[in-house]
Subunit: 406 residues, 2 copies
Amino acid sequence: MAVNLSAPMNLLPVAGLRLGVAEAAIKKAGRNDLLVIELAAGSRVAGVFTQNAFAAAPVQLCREYLKATTSIRALLVNAGNANAATGDGGLADARATTAAVAAELGCEAQQVLPFSTGVIGLRLPLQRMLAAIPKAVAAASADAWTLAAATIMTTDTVAKGASRRVATSQGEVTVTGIAKGVGMIEPHMATMLGFIATDARLTPAAVDAALRSAVDVSFNCVTVDSDTSTNDSCVLCATAQVGSQDIDVGDADYAAVAAAIRDVCIELAQSIVRDGEGATRFITIDVGGAMSVAEARQVGYAIANSPLVKTAMFAGDANWGRIVMAIGKAGVSGLDPASVGIALDDVQLIVGGQPHPDYREERGAAVVAKPEFTISVTLGRGAAQARLWTCDFSYEYVKINAEYRT
Amino acid sequence: MAVNLSAPMNLLPVAGLRLGVAEAAIKKAGRNDLLVIELAAGSRVAGVFTQNAFAAAPVQLCREYLKATTSIRALLVNAGNANAATGDGGLADARATTAAVAAELGCEAQQVLPFSTGVIGLRLPLQRMLAAIPKAVAAASADAWTLAAATIMTTDTVAKGASRRVATSQGEVTVTGIAKGVGMIEPHMATMLGFIATDARLTPAAVDAALRSAVDVSFNCVTVDSDTSTNDSCVLCATAQVGSQDIDVGDADYAAVAAAIRDVCIELAQSIVRDGEGATRFITIDVGGAMSVAEARQVGYAIANSPLVKTAMFAGDANWGRIVMAIGKAGVSGLDPASVGIALDDVQLIVGGQPHPDYREERGAAVVAKPEFTISVTLGRGAAQARLWTCDFSYEYVKINAEYRT
């Protein structure tokens, strides 16, 4: 059902990074579901994580490890089990898996960041994972990005990845990222597992800054179903293999590298929405004329998460009354309906709070019949704007989520 | 699909109030879709209305008229068209319909409160409504409550009404109410049309106080789909026919009458959820141990509106990981997962933030297989609590809302 999305064909290797996968039969047998990403010594890593108060065990460990060391040497990812709401036992399980990777690589457990995705509330099948970890390490290679993207899928129907190359004064730099996630998606800090890597020699501060600014306009601007996962994690690894001069925030090369990282994140975030559970429409929501970016996003999310707007879009019904309703319920204090405008692509629906005299139902219907379109809203209050991406709400969403565990 | 809900059989007449219905073919022909409620001189009326910034034309007029006069003599209600987002023309239409009722009854237009429900963004069929109004007035009788409840339905599958009798020092008092609404339901002030009447001699201040306190624990505690209508309106009419002494807030009889009004509102609000679009489960959500009622409601709504919780409940799947996720995403600052408890009816799932050792999947599954059950959450932060009602999220919800206009 994914909207204009196909699996990535040419994900570019990143010098200093190798990926290995294995089968641990975590939820079911017959598929790769465990991934180890090895990083060269000297790599700089930054992560952003879920704002959900019930952060999963691996998220808790990532936060702990990233405080304890700046020398991360590997990432361990499993699909099929989120290791969330598993109490102290779950935390011990996650710790044991990182120790197992560390033993293979000859480093400390806290140099291995763990990530889990899948069902909440079940303990990990620890023994099967410990058995699979050496196999994944043994299989590692630089060109396994596509295999890795497929390994971390859960209800995803299409693997998600993106690459960019960008010239710097020290030579050409590569940025490659993969992500997974199609439901429980309204990240608020990061999405349900995004891994972005570059061989650029970014300083730790630059890695952190580039990740946060990229996430803010990509993973933090998508919603499938308004639900925020307990496991959302997004990591940027800079392996520092190109050149010998560090690139810090403000340096000449920083802007170009950060832009490539941002572009990869936006492409990945859009891929998540295109493959949103049951999605048949990919919808961009532009809100302008707001008093702040936060206000623009508040209105954008009210539209993007309204079940009534989303079911109308699924039906290809230009039921703009529901867009009006969603703007009105967004809770913008003092919003003046008489200054609001709404358009579907270039078809103006509402101008100055009144129905546009030239609007005809057929014109709106022609827009929402397309698999991709934009809902534009102007609030007439200020100059701030925001852009979000969402999908529609179909029978298939209910089916996927009513049957997820059975 | 309504959950344990049947049409009201014995709605008690309220002295001083008559109801008349007629067919105006507002959305389609062949059904009554216009209701006039006449009130005796001396009736006291209070209303609460939507917080949606795009309040519909009838809501705007209600607010204007209630400021202009304390002598309301009639309510005019139509189904099939919301008269919302219709601009200045829609406001003129609503004004014309109230003038037409006033002409029939020999009062001023501003003594007639208008209410509309149905599709947003279309103009009313004014001529057909003006033709139907005299017929509705001519048909008015004291015992047409059940007919009235059916007349105001849109996608409702069952008419909604409730009655109570209560003894006062001046004699027995009756409270009867009707409501409609099954989608675009998260009222935040009132639901999509609730009309409650009593023959008690409540003062205007007591009418207002009794309505607000009743709505706060009834219509403001339900959600079907998190969407807030542009037309939500709830009105309490006291016809002052019983006794000769006014009942004010704090008077001996006030508590009993207010409790009867509250009970009618709770029954009506629950009816709306039981008939929620596509509903197969009626779910009570109790949140305790909060630092404030607002905080308890915040957590309750996060659960009640989570598409993932709602689809799991539809599947009869005790997927409590999604309840954990919803609590965690509610945005309660400083929430300590280690103090949280969760139960399904009397089956404890989480105690002190950890899975309960005695919990077995079968026990949770047995609860959520039932058409009615309670999700209880304790936050372990304070003494405040809140109770909400919601329903599940089914294929049928998508079907109803994808096909609503076609």
